[in-house]
């Protein structure tokens, strides 16, 4: 076993630093780390659902951060970087999972979510999540920033303030983006 296997903490902080200084290869290394962590956290959360623990909105991402990052590194920049990455990955995990599950329920047919799906399956979270993901992708074609704000807030559980920091936007702009994107998505999803 190599050294990094038992000391992931140092690794991820270093990777965040590298990534922050423009090293794209660092991101390639980061993604699987954060992905694994979040995936496991999500699975762990599921197991605990019946218990007394309630998961707070930001808990998964915060937990992943606690586990992966060097706790002596209190740099807000690294936290923001990490949360930004985690939100994206969280989206992948959840949407991927929803697609798989829905596929299983429908006997393996390819997914194309439509209004009738919601009727067939009731308002299942799978359907909602996949529809949201589709809508976000659509929004991203014209308004990538808005889409990202939603990603950070919805999938990353970040506050407006945290989102603003991750995206280097002002609080007011972030709030405006959120408000518009929310309305736009709401309209798309209920249409």
């Amino acid at each position: 076993m190599n050294e990094s296997a038992v000391r992931p903490n140092q690794n991820i902080t270093q990777l965040l630093v590298k990534w922050g200084s423009g090293d794209k290869a660092a991101l390639d290394e980061l993604i699987p780390l954060v992905y694994d962590e979040l995936r496991k956290l999500a699975a762990g959360y599921l197991r605990r659902r019946s218990g007394s623990n309630t998961l707070q909105p930001t808990a998964l991402v915060h937990e992943a951060y606690v586990r992966l990052a060097d706790q002596s590194d209190v740099s807000m920049e690294h936290r923001a970087q990490f949360f930004g990455l985690a939100a994206k990955i969280m989206r992948d995990i959840l949407v991927d999972h929803a697609r798989r599950r829905l596929a299983v329920k429908r006997g393996g047919e390819q997914l194309r979510v439509s209004l009738s799906d919601a009727e067939r399956f009731g308002s299942k979270p799978e359907v909602e999540l996949i529809a949201l993901d589709d809508a976000l992708q659509q929004l991203a074609t014209t308004n990538p920033q808005h889409s990202r704000v939603v990603e950070l807030r919805f999938f990353g559980g970040l506050t407006i303030e945290e989102t603003a920091r991750v995206m280097s936007l002002s609080h007011a702009t972030t709030e405006r983006h959120w408000s518009f994107a929310r309305a736009w998505l709401q309209r798309q999803l209920t249409a």
Binding site: A5, L41, V66, R67, R182, A183, R187
Partner: protein, 647 residues
């Protein structure tokens, strides 16, 4: 129709349009209702589609529940949570017929089922598909679960079968008609005896598993079943590992590949956070010591009803596990035995190097405490209500009291058979850190046999219910330095003044032990006494000596005689119950009083007690092979005086 409208909107929403749409949207949002209506109306005159779009966005904006208002986790929970289809009574899985649901945990649903082949009841657990996707991990889980089951340990649940039916993996285990420890803890506070009983059984199970190289990794009250007949069963060996490693992603990822990548190998997410070890919380590689920590938490919770690290959020819990020392049990359960606190604290050390290194060490401490506790309880039951036996605690004290000063006086309560002692000599009990020299004489209370003599028995041993053995360790000193190795003695030699000694006591039975050094007679005609045992630093202030426990006095150092000749008298009181007169003076064994009973009333009471009880002299046997002396007597209290003659 609605879908068509959406289609139109999509078509018109180019980046330019979107910017315009957003600007109009924000402008409209900022207006009062009437103004907004006018605004839309005006817009519709010039740009009808845009007006419709803004209107629909405003409508959406004003809807209270957007699907994105709650973060995705809420949906995710629902999403992944109800993976099981759910079985109904009468349904058949393999050769099992479902009788009733038993519960639903994160690791799948559990049913009471009937084995149609063997006619017995089983617990049937269905593993959620996301945990069984990965064939390698599943195979390893099956191996490990079966390995644990095949240990045939009474505290490990027996697995009958691990199988698959229509793609659903299930585990059939013995059905335990009892409570989970979680349910039990919720019911009412457990007695310390129950706490220890459960902990010992769990630790036994873990010891067997660890010896076979299996780490449980998810010890928590839900995984511990209590049978009505008192047996405790540990469930779900191996399951934690399966679940932490598998998941919905990348099913092609092999165990080897995972190890190479290095970051999923030290598996992280485990069962309930509340019972995680710090290394689990950090996602490091875990070993058997993680089970030690988790059992420590379970112990804490059993004793107090509280989870030491539980916090409002899972993040807080994790941080607490990593950083917070749990509050002492005595804060919420004042009667917690000190030894139990010590055991729990040692199991909960955050650095696993500082913890119990093996579950076996923990098990031994639990068993010892349990013996002490049940002994104390037995005594309590047999005693008059006036004096309650205290919960004993094994001593961790390292320092003996320094320089206890005593005086030797003429015998006041000696049996007539005693040789007269040289009187009024000073005896300095000096606590010394290391080896020392001494020469000594033991003037036993009853006889004064020559070395090598056969046992002197004054009554048939078979009728004696009290028996206590003692011996001395002597370290010679010459020119102020240790000289030769220390040696053991059962009885008499004349001690040289620079010999240093230790006294050792043990019994095959549980009992209460008190030792006093008699000093000079005071002005009131009553001798002074110095308490030698128990003390704050000897046996944690408890007189309780459990069977075969060896007491050494002083615990860490040596007694030293002073320069003057004389005979030290050390009174030994050995009883089946607490002796109120002795309990009353225990507290003088502190550094301030140096063991001296400064209260005249208590001194008199002690003197009278010794006088009245020493008239029934115990039998004294000297075993030259073992180099020890055994004193025996009938009844509830044995009183004996050891005399140490020195030049």
């Amino acid at each position: 129709m609605v879908a068509t409208a959406a289609y139109c909107l999509e078509n018109m929403e180019t980046p330019d349009n979107m910017q315009q749409l957003e600007d109009l949207f924000h402008e409209a949002v900022g207006l009062e209702a009437q103004e907004r209506a006018d605004f839309i109306t005006r817009l519709r005159e010039s740009q009808p589609p845009l007006a419709s779009a803004v209107e629909s966005l405003i409508a959406a904006h004003e809807k209270p529940d957007s699907p994105i208002d709650a973060p995705a986790f809420e949906a995710a929970a629902e999403l992944i949570g109800d993976a099981q289809p759910g079985l109904v009574p009468g349904q058949v899985v393999g050769h099992y017929e479902i009788v009733s649901p038993l519960g639903k945990g994160g690791m799948g649903e559990v049913y009471l089922a009937k084995d149609m082949k063997l006619g017995r009841r089983v617990a049937l657990k269905l593993l959620p598909p996301q945990f069984t996707d990965h064939k390698d991990l599943l195979r390893r889980f099956i191996q490990e679960a079966k390995a644990a089951s095949s240990l045939n340990h009474p505290n490990i649940i027996t697995i009958h079968e691990i199988g698959e039916m229509s793609g659903v993996h299930f585990i059939a285990t013995e059905f335990i008609d009892g409570l989970t420890l979680k349910q039990r803890i919720r019911c009412e506070r457990m007695t310390f005896a129950d706490v220890l009983d459960v902990a010992i059984q769990v630790a036994s199970a873990l010891q067997a598993a660890h010896a076979a190289g299996l780490v449980h990794r998810d010890i928590k009250p839900e995984n511990i079943m209590l049978r009505p007949d008192g047996y405790v069963k540990v469930l779900d060996f191996g399951l934690a590992k399966l679940i932490q490693r598998s998941g919905p992603m990348d099913s092609a990822e092999s165990e080897a590949g995972t190890m190479l990548r290095g970051h999923t190998k030290p598996g992280t997410v485990m069962g309930t956070y509340d019972y995680m070890s710090p290394e689990q919380a950090r996602g490091h590689v875990v070993d058997q010591r993680t089970d030690v920590f988790s059992l420590g938490i379970v112990l804490y919770e059993m004793a107090s009803g509280r989870r030491p690290f539980a916090a409002a959020t899972s993040l807080d819990t994790l941080v607490s596990i990593l950083q917070t020392e749990p509050p002492p049990l005595r804060e919420c359960v004042p009667e917690t035995p000190a030894e139990l606190q010590r055991i729990i604290s040692k199991a909960l050390r955050k650095d696993r190097e500082e913890r119990y290194q093996t579950i076996k060490e923990l098990l031994i401490d639990l068993k010892t405490l349990n013996e002490e506790l049940s002994f104390a309880q037995k005594l309590e039951r047999s005693r008059a209500p006036r004096s309650r036996a205290k919960l004993p605690a094994r001593s961790d004290a390292t320092e003996a009291p320094t320089a206890i000063q005593t005086r030797v006086v003429a015998a006041t309560a000696e049996p007539s058979a005693l040789k007269p002692v040289r009187s009024n000599r000073r005896f300095v009990l000096v606590a010394l850190a290391a080896l020392a020299l001494a020469a000594f004489v033991i003037a036993a209370a009853v006889f004064w046999p020559r070395r090598g003599s056969t046992p002197v028995v004054s009554a048939p041993a078979s009728t004696m219910n009290l028996a206590l053995s003692y011996w001395l360790t002597v370290q010679k000193y010459r020119d102020g330095k240790p000289y030769q190795d220390p040696f053991q003695l059962s009885d008499d030699i004349n001690f040289e003044k620079d010999y240093r000694i230790r006294l050792h006591m043990t019994s095959a039975d549980n009992g209460y032990l008190y030792l006093l050094n008699e000093g000079t007679v005071g002005v009131d005609g009553v001798p002074t006494f110095n308490v030698m045992f128990p003390s704050e630093t000897a046996n944690n202030g408890s007189a309780v000596v459990t069977k075969n426990q060896e007491i050494q006095i002083p615990q860490q150092s040596w007694f030293q005689f002073d320069a003057e000749q004389g005979t030290e008298k050390i009174w030994v009181v050995w009883a089946t119950k607490e002796v109120p007169e002795m309990e009353a003076v225990k507290g003088f064994a502190n550094p301030k009083d140096r063991g001296e009973i400064t209260s005249p009333v208590l001194r008199t009471a002690v003197s009278q007690f010794l006088k009245s009880h020493s008239s029934a002299a115990p039998s004294v046997e000297r075993d030259q092979d073992k180099k020890q002396t055994t004193i025996k007597a009938n009844g509830e209290i044995l009183v004996h005086v050891i005399k140490l003659e020195h030049h």
